[in-house]
Symmetry: C2
Subunit: 424 residues, 2 copies
């Protein structure tokens, strides 16, 4: 797309805010370097894509007795059979979650979890409103908020990256004192093997957040983004979601995830479970305006693989592959002398990312010498600054082991290490 400013079109406020995503600038910088290895994209590994499962499922659907409703329109809220199987899985995962009514009726199916986030924000927030976000946070969500004109305040964290509930209390008090508290419309966090940090929030941390809000009677909607929950390496993360934690039960809750990130990203189906029926209905109505329902075909495929076990068989194959790739990237970085160069990171127990902290004074930002040197060396990453709001620390980097095969990961780690040593 060549964008010229010759346009005579008058854009809306949203249109004026719509800008080239920062990550796209990174990608076009990288294009100058043809052999660049990408540790930036949060894509999955092509070798892991469930080609045979999808082919078999489409064959099975095609030969089912009855009308081929799977190729017909669906509904705004999503395919009932898919919502039922998702509800059953969630109920098993969250035995402490108590609720009235049919769980499947509380679920909306979306175009990936991204649309679930978008719909939630659209119906909750006007431009100028505030959302509390984890720190670091999912940068595509942060860019979406900028696009919608929504402000963020970061949930304070301690030096080791855990939620600092005392500081959170102080932040909430400041917001009340300044009269901004009424504009705080939601709180958002990626709680399992987070993008970008790879961390999971503990029950203690989640409860502490609920307590700080409850103490101030701020029963704002909470969005828990569990996109990576299924992508653990060895065992599920033990922490309970806001659905199952009693401290969160007075809050309107939207628990959302993707069904296709851990299966086939090209099918793009996500969902959200909402405990507030009016909020859910508003999102479904807004979705009616967006697209009146996600592709029904894709929903039928997901329903089938969730029911017949193919989804779980695929995940069982996938987990050790990502565990291995995580270990390979970690080892490659360690071998390349990154620790000696002053870098630190934790080894995550799931997800697709290593979250690296550079020495305090090293700027890893998009326009930094370090970033340019990496591109020149043939490796790209996501600058950590994208994962924060204003006053972002500039010495973090998100490295994904999602896309590249192990050999390339080692090579990319070596290139990254070469640059890091130069800048140490």
């Amino acid at each position: 797309m060549n964008v010229t400013s010759s346009s005579s079109v008058n854009f809306s406020a949203l249109g004026q805010r719509a800008q080239l995503p920062t990550i796209a600038r990174l990608m076009s910088m990288a294009l100058e370097s043809p052999d660049v290895l990408s540790l930036a994209a949060g894509f999955t590994d092509n070798r892991t894509l469930p080609v045979a499962f999808v082919e078999e499922t489409v064959r099975e659907l095609s030969h089912r007795v009855g009308e081929p409703e799977f190729l017909q329109y669906g509904s705004n809220q999503g395919r009932a059979g898919l919502r039922r199987v998702v509800a059953e899985r969630l109920q098993k995962e969250e035995p402490a979650f108590t609720h009235t009514g049919e769980l499947a009726e509380k679920i909306i199916v979306t175009n990936g979890s991204q649309q679930a986030l978008y719909l939630a924000m659209q119906v909750l927030c006007d431009p100028g409103d505030i959302v509390l976000v984890d720190q670091p946070s999912y940068f595509v969500f942060l860019e979406m908020l900028v696009g919608l004109g929504i402000q963020t305040r970061a949930i304070p964290v301690t030096a080791d990256g855990k939620i600092d509930s005392r500081e959170l209390g102080r932040l909430l008090d400041r917001l009340r004192a300044s009269g901004e508290a009424s504009r705080v419309r939601a709180i958002y966090f990626v709680s399992y093997f987070s993008n970008p940090s790879g961390r999971s929030l503990s029950d203690v941390e989640k409860n502490a957040v609920a307590e700080q809000l409850t103490a101030r009677s701020m029963f704002i909607p909470v969005l828990e983004d569990a996109a990576y929950r299924e992508l653990y390496f060895e065992r599920p993360e033990a922490s309970v979601s806001v659905l199952g934690l009693p401290a969160w039960s007075p809050f309107p809750r939207f628990y959302l995830s993707t069904l296709t990130k851990p299966f086939a990203t090209g099918l793009k189906i996500g969902y959200g479970l909402c405990t507030d029926s009016e909020w859910l209905a508003k999102m479904a109505y807004a979705k009616g305006h967006h697209d009146f329902g996600s592709a029904h075909f894709n929903q039928a495929i997901l329903e089938t693989v969730l029911r017949n076990g193919a989804f779980d068989r695929h995940l069982a194959e996938l987990r050790p592959m990502y565990a291995e790739k995580c270990a390979v990237l970690h080892a490659g970085l360690a071998v390349s002398g990154l620790h000696a160069a002053g870098w630190r990171w934790e080894i995550p127990a799931g997800g697709l990312y290593l979250w690296l902290q550079a020495p305090q004074n090293l700027d890893t930002g998009l326009e930094s010498d370090f970033c340019r040197a990496c591109i020149a060396e043939g490796v790209i990453y996501v600058p950590g600054e994208l994962c924060f709001g204003a006053d972002a620390p500039r010495n973090f980097a998100r490295l994904s082991f999602g896309v590249l095969p192990p050999g390339k990961l080692t090579q990319a780690a070596s290139r990254f290490g070469t640059v890091a040593r130069k800048f140490s």
Copy 2:
């Protein structure tokens, strides 16, 4: 979904405007009557769905040499190969369309044509802005505009439903006199076998609109919705789109359509071609926030069937089926004495709808005695009032021959006729 008003959630302005679609109220009224035949839904006929073509295509994609990129993420703008084949088809369809640069680069792939409409409206219009719309117009678009807080003004028509360019000129003058002209951000029409009217706009009508706008230097963006263009019965509609008409060349143009309405609605892929690169870029950025790209799998399927001819073979089978169903519904209504009861309609040359005009004093609205009597008799339709803005005439009805097989269409027509005779 049970919607209670027990919610403690504060909604945004958009959230407050998000309401149950009117058509959903009709559907739930109809649920009380279990044997109801629906002439309301604009769905396609399950019997026509291309099960074998889709199965074959997925098999072919699955066995292609190389990485299974069709199951991987795509991009905001959409799959390059799909955009190229769509561009080639459009260039053939619109030989008079001159442009600079690669046509495929002017195309964005969307979740059905509905999302193309949504993105266009989002980046062009703020709440309170005005869009000029055809009369009658696509009611899901009108409801979307209400959801976005956008006002409409109807393009005036003559008694026989053609665009009345003199009256349009007067409307534009009134908008200028009242200071509202600067809030008119776009003009929209469904130009081929329209939903709901079944009419196509002639070149003369389209040119007359361009001339009225040009005479007032109102070079506002135009959205031409060609969703039904491929669904002609015997031959393509001869009229040229705004892409090919020289009178429209000074205008920023967005020509949009669906690839799945005439193939498999459950795949939900649409597209738009935009002549203004900045407008297109804004829509792609906004789409990045919605979902960062439509399901890549579905795009790969469409690319394949467009390339290998399966799409066109399917259309060739489909057209006579819909032509027959149109004739059956028409004949059923005629036989049931509707003309004698004072009803009038044209036989369309494509599309999925008959647009019936009832006697002047007969209210066919959602809350009317007539509508209730139809439901009691076991037939539903779309009240014409939904297809207009304010001051809607109340004596129209949209009857779709899309879903029901011929035998059921005859039965539905007979039921409709029974009620119409009672009310004559």
